[in-house]
């Protein structure tokens, strides 16, 4: 808990608390796991949290902003501001290893390789492992899935459908 005295709020503590906020669409991941939490700093007595959206049209970002504000104020931080930045652009390369493991346990295939520049007019896709049975015999049903950040797959071995967190 952070007391609301004249002493400066603790940035370390604020960061620890902000990092516990989860993505409402993928509640197994925190905004820290996702790489959405870019910075926590002090501006005078105000805690300034900087977030970056995963996709431009991601509706979850508003909820994440609200949750960061609420979580920090509930923990006693009286002056909180949330800023957004588009630069540098978010990439799945920022996703933590712990986050990837949590995703897989949750039933979502994590982004498995680094995001490279897509090149060439006719794209190729790499194999994605089924999070349930581990088979690589999977098929992309649609590049667009339940949220902007996921594509929809089916496993040809266990026959289950699953979401894949797109490499971005």
């Amino acid at each position: 808990m952070n007391s609301t005295t004249a002493s400066a709020p603790s940035v370390v503590e604020a960061r620890r608390i902000a990092a516990t906020v989860v993505d409402p669409e993928v509640p197994v991941l925190t905004i820290d796991d996702l790489g959405v939490l870019r910075d926590v700093r002090l501006d005078g007595q105000t805690v300034v949290v900087t977030l970056t959206p995963t996709y431009s049209g991601c509706p979850a970002i508003d909820q994440m902003r609200d949750d960061v504000l609420l979580t920090l104020t509930a923990e006693g931080f009286t002056h909180v501001r949330v800023d957004f930045t588009l630069s540098p652009a978010w990439t799945t390369d920022w996703m933590s290893e712990a986050g990837k493991q949590k995703l897989e346990q949750y039933g979502i295939a994590p982004p498995t390789h680094r995001a490279g520049e897509r090149s060439g007019p006719i794209p190729l896709s790499l194999g994605v492992k089924c999070p349930r049975c581990g088979s690589l015999r999977t098929r992309e049903v649609s590049r667009f899935g339940s949220t902007a950040c996921k594509s929809h797959f089916e496993c040809l071995a266990c026959l289950e459908p699953f979401d894949h967190f797109k490499v971005h």
Binding site: T46, S56, L70, T73, T85, L86, S87, P123, S146
Partner: protein, 297 residues
């Protein structure tokens, strides 16, 4: 679009308390300015009049195409396509929000002011994006031209000397890559599918190709924004390279979709002269906001 320029944490808390068991108590924090959302590298950046005009052109392209694509939700040939076209529309709306937010900074207007309270002559989109959805092939053909162009554009824009435009370009290009994949895959599928799917695709390409040229026309604004706004004419070579490769793969030649009787459209969207299709689209898009001025969700 977010119809709320400002909310404070107390309002948010009340809202959350209504639908969750969590009680946050009496919360009061600094007011959060939502308009800072999705701004460029510098959330408080203010555009010059010229930069605002340029950002409005690109923002309107994305907004109008997004509105067009939204119509497909529940109407696409298969469920996956409802989701694909809906997701593409959502990305485009995100680009439009960033661009229009920045454009509005020059005149003290919000992204919502620009989307809902401008009339036809004040819109700056190119004619391609106003074209009706037609059948599925028309939507794919329009998307193919749009996404190849946008990928070239945003790649170039990410090198802009304007930090906000560069940030928006770098962010958007990654998403547009998916849009291009989608359009390319469907182009190949329709071209190599049945006689009927190929016939429809060629009709669609014939109908939409005349609106391509407008995207690549330089004007005095680009002269004034050297280094800030990529010259449209400079994007043509990159576009042609991808376009030719896709058509070759689909075994379509230029003679299959170009008609000597039909040249390229004169367009005029960049200066507020629009096709007859924009008016009805705006009427539907703006009716709710205008029926309830100042209302918020």
């Amino acid at each position: 679009m977010n119809a709320q320029p400002q909310r404070d944490a107390a309002a948010i808390a009340a809202e959350h308390q209504a639908d969750t068991e969590a009680v946050h108590g009496d919360v009061s924090v600094d007011e959060t300015t939502l308009s800072a959302e999705l701004a460029g590298a510098d959330a408080s950046a203010t555009a010059s009049a010229d930069v605002a005009e340029y950002a409005m052109r690109l923002g309107d392209d994305a907004l109008i195409l997004s509105q067009r694509l939204g119509w497909w939700i529940s109407r696409a040939p298969e469920l996956e396509e409802d989701m694909a076209l809906g997701n593409i529309a959502l990305d485009l709306l995100g680009h439009a929000r960033s661009l229009l937010h920045y454009a509005g900074s020059a005149s003290g207007r919000s992204e919502d002011d620009l989307a809902y309270w401008r009339d036809e002559p004040e819109f700056r989109c190119a004619w391609l994006f106003e074209q009706p959805n037609g059948d599925f092939a028309h939507t794919i053909a329009r998307g193919l031209i749009a996404s190849i162009w946008m990928q070239e554009l945003y790649t170039a824009l990410s090198q802009s000397t304007d930090a906000s435009l560069a940030a928006i370009g770098a962010k958007s290009v990654k998403e547009v890559a998916y849009h291009r994949d989608h359009a390319v895959q469907w182009t190949l599928r329709l071209a190599g599918g049945t006689d009927e799917s190929r016939r429809r695709l060629l009709v669609a390409l014939t109908d939409l190709w005349p609106y391509t040229d407008e995207l690549f026309r330089d004007d005095e604004l680009h002269e004034r924004l050297e280094g800030v706004a990529p010259r449209p004419s400079g994007l043509r070579a990159g576009f042609d390279e991808i376009w030719s490769a896709v058509l070759a793969e689909a075994e379509i030649t230029e003679a299959d979709f170009t008609n000597s009787k039909i040249g390229q459209s004169s367009g005029g969207g960049r200066h507020g002269n629009h096709s007859t299709h924009l008016g009805p689209l705006l009427a539907e898009m703006q009716v709710l906001a205008r029926a309830h001025p100042g209302a918020s969700w």
